[in-house]
């Protein structure tokens, strides 16, 4: 079986699984308990936090552990919006954000916040000038993702951060779920105030999200019931999964440059090969994360292709796993100006470290066969 869905979730690393099992067995005490067991668990928690800071090279902020990327995005955006409401109610985001940002923005809109959704280029990138001209006196937050989860396009985060440095009252949130551990990120150099990540996208366990919060940033907790995580996230900490996540991040960062280079070659190769299949259309343009290749088969329901690929032992996604059960055309593809037909037919291939050129060849061969068998069924080809 070929698993090409690493951007949805990854197979956990065997060392991560072992860590999780051992810590879970040994450190079951509640880290808030005062006895030795609790103290030991709390120490592991803090060690994991420290490791995140070291790996991500952050000194002016701290890392909060949440239940996942979605919660990190919710906490970051709602937390800032509600804490800074007295200062302003305008928020800037892009039209290609993940559902956990997009739908939070919809909720805030209902609460009376004024949301500007920036358009993106045909290639799938937010334009710096658009950010600049959207800023108003009462803008409190800009939330832009680093790597788009469907197209893989890399947004100009460093440049936006540089621009926002001249607006110190305005906070900058980055959803880095698809880039943390995979691409270099200079959180503090780029002037980022909040950054979300998720452990299971980098071979860590499910159920752990990261959120970097710059010191002194006002953030309203979104869940009540305890003073864990600096009063920002009530609930007993998931020590085993958190320690395992810290390990997963270390493993990812250690081999990050090498893996990125390896995957870069695969992505380039796959794109060349896909270009040979006339029916398929590549989406998104450079700069693009090498971990994602996205294409459409206009006029064909993507589910059909996904199912046929699976029959051949190949697993891929239609788009963001969080929205893949919707039958609607992709919001992200519509945003880059795709037709409804193209937007309904997106396929996402995402790579991991186990993939080789032979795997790509196998995928291409499967796609060639699928296209050949579907061609007669294309909408508009039957008169």
């Amino acid at each position: 079986m070929l698993y090409f869905d690493h951007c949805a979730s990854t197979p956990p690393h065997e060392d991560v699984v072992r860590t999780m099992m051992e810590v879970m067995t040994k450190h079951y005490a509640n880290p808030s308990s005062l006895h030795g067991g609790g103290v030991a668990a709390a120490r592991l928690l803090e060690k994991a936090r420290e490791q995140l800071g070291q790996l991500m090279n952050t000194k002016q902020g701290r890392w909060i552990f949440t239940s996942g990327g979605t919660e990190s995005n919710n906490l970051a955006i709602k937390g800032v919006a509600r804490a800074l409401r007295s200062r302003g109610n305008h928020i800037i985001t892009s039209s290609i954000e993940h559902a956990s940002v997009y739908e939070v923005m919809q909720q805030l809109k209902e609460e009376g916040f004024d949301i500007t959704e920036l358009p993106v280029s045909r290639e799938g990138h937010v334009q710096l000038e658009d950010v600049k001209s959207a800023i108003r006196d009462h803008t409190i937050l800009v939330s832009i993702m680093h790597v788009n989860n469907e197209l893989g396009t890399i947004q100009p985060i460093a440049e936006i951060g540089e621009l926002l440095k001249s607006y110190p009252k305005l906070k900058f949130h980055v959803d880095a779920v698809q880039s943390i551990g995979k691409l270099p990120i200079d959180i503090e150099g780029w002037g980022i105030d909040l950054l979300s990540g998720s452990a299971h996208k980098l071979r860590g366990p499910r159920g752990v999200g990261f959120l970097y919060v710059r010191n002194g940033l006002p953030l309203a907790a979104q869940q009540a019931g305890g003073s864990q995580e600096f009063d920002l996230r009530a609930g007993t900490e998931n020590i085993a999964a958190i320690v395992a996540s810290a390990k997963a991040l270390r493993l990812a960062i250690t081999k990050q440059p090498q893996l990125a280079a390896q995957v870069e070659q695969l992505a380039a190769y796959l794109k060349t090969r896909l270009a040979e299949i006339a029916e398929l259309k590549l989406n998104g343009g450079a700069p693009q994360s090498p971990f994602i290749v996205h294409f459409s088969y206009p006029g064909m329901k993507p589910e059909v292709i996904i199912h046929m690929l699976e029959q051949k032992g190949i697993l891929a996604s239609t788009r963001s796993a969080c929205s893949s059960k919707d039958d609607k055309p992709s919001r992200v593809l519509l945003a880059i100006g795709a037709t409804r037909e193209e937007a309904a037919g997106g396929i996402r291939i995402s790579f991991g470290e186990e993939h080789t050129k032979q795997d790509v060849d196998q995928l291409v061969l499967a796609l060639q066969q699928i296209v050949a068998s579907l061609k007669p069924l294309e909408r508009g080809s039957r008169h």
Binding site: T19, E22, V23, K26, L34, G36, V39, R43, L44, K47, A48, Q51, V243, A244, A246, K247, R250
Partner: protein
């Protein structure tokens, strides 16, 4: 920029007369200790300065370490070129090109130590300045308040160029002023007092009073972390004396003089510290007291408490405001540890209204009437646990298991 050495300028020790040699030797020792992680560096001493020759060691970590060492007022990274006019001019241009921010004004300040060099100091200022100016049309010379002062030291073997002066910690080198005990509670003040005492060249041994089970192990861990931090500034491991204080404290708390609890506790602490000082041959006691900060730190409280000490009391924070203390705590990176919410023994049994003006005779009478008071003091000293702590180790010797988990 290819720095080849760092110049260190000495602080207060240059004022020393005949003892100067001793101080300079201690300074070199202290620098050498701090440079242990960089075995390739070598040293060269000149009058009032020291050169640390990098020999390939990375300059930034070396500077970062040296600027925290006591006895040094400032450090400058240096590049060295052959003592030839063209080489010096070229290096000056390289330096200009490397600056992050172009200065509006500058001057060249040449010193010709090697009289065989064909151009005099004054002439060199013009030759180098005149070489730079045409390439930077915005740049002007200002000999009084230049934004950039490019210094040239011309020696026969090489010319050293430097322009950046990074302030360092100042004070006297480690252990040039004798040894004292530091009362270390774990709060914000005492580590700052310790740092200031180290800066004046004192060698320190820390004393901490714990009252398990009334205080937690985390409170002690906190003090260990702070001691390790101080050991970074000292450059050597520091001894921490952990005094069991539970028995004395409960004895005092059981008395019926609630408002004198703190006064009595502080006196007991000083008595114990003096006995420890005697054992380790220390000649003073450093505390983090600041006038008027809490009830035990009013002048009359300090009078009654201080009576039991015969050694000189050193109170570096005595006239400082809390905000000033906090600023230093942040600078020396002890603040975040100090504010961790673990109670130390002083906040336990805190009376509702501690006396700000205790009566010495009453205090002495209470102590006199306490059964086994002297014995308890003696036992506390005997049962004191002493550990040696160094900045380059962690508090908790993690198990192999644990290392593997991360």
């Amino acid at each position: 920029m290819n720095y080849d050495r760092i110049v260190l300028r000495y602080g207060d020790l240059t004022m020393k007369g005949r003892n100067r040699k001793v101080f300079e030797d201690k300074m070199l020792k202290s620098v050498k200790r701090a440079m242990k992680p960089f075995p390739e560096v070598t040293y060269w001493r000149t009058y009032g300065r020291m050169h640390v020759l990098l020999n390939g060691a990375p300059h930034q970590p070396v500077i970062d370490r040296l600027k925290d060492l006591f006895g040094i007022v400032s450090v400058s990274p240096v590049i060295s070129v052959p003592s030839e006019l063209e080489a010096i001019q070229a290096a000056a241009l390289d330096i200009m090109a490397s600056l992050k921010k172009q200065p509006a004004t500058f001057k060249v300040n040449a010193k010709r130590a090697w009289k065989g060099f064909p151009h005099g100091s004054h002439e060199m200022n013009h030759l180098v300045g005149g070489h730079i100016l045409p390439r930077y049309p915005e740049l002007r010379v200002d000999v009084h308040h230049p934004e950039l002062e490019l210094k040239l030291d011309i020696h026969e073997e090489a010319t050293h160029l430097y322009w950046e002066t990074i302030p360092a910690a100042g004070g006297f080198p480690y252990a040039t002023s004798g040894k004292a005990m530091l009362l270390l509670s774990g709060g914000i003040d005492s580590p700052v007092a310790g740092w200031l005492a180290l800066r004046k060249g004192l060698e320190l041994e820390a004393v901490h009073f714990h009252s398990y089970p009334f205080t937690s192990e985390q409170a002690t861990d906190k003090v260990k972390t702070l001691t390790r931090r101080l050991s970074y500034y000292a450059g050597v491991p520091i001894r921490l004396h952990l005094v069991p204080f539970t028995d004395i404290q409960t004895k005092i708390a059981h008395g019926n003089q609630e408002n004198l609890t703190i006064t009595l506790m502080r006196r007991a602490m000083l008595r114990i510290t003096e006995l420890l000082a005697e054992q380790v041959k220390a000649n003073g006691i450093v505390t983090g007291e600041s006038l008027g900060q809490v009830a035990s730190q009013t002048l009359s409280s300090m009078n009654v408490i201080g009576r039991v000490a015969t050694l000189p009391m050193i109170k570096p924070l005595i006239t400082m405001d809390k905000q000033e203390i906090i600023e230093i705590a942040r600078q020396i990176d002890t603040y975040e540890t100090s504010i961790l919410p673990f109670e130390d023994c002083c906040t336990l049994f805190l009376p509702k209204s501690p006396s700000t003006n205790p009566n010495l005779r009453v205090v002495e009478r209470v102590e006199h009437s306490m059964e086994d008071y002297d014995l308890l003091i003696k036992q506390a000293v005997e049962n004191t646990e002493t550990i040696l702590l160094s900045f380059n180790e962690n508090n908790n010797e993690a198990s192999q298991d644990e290392e593997n988990w991360f």
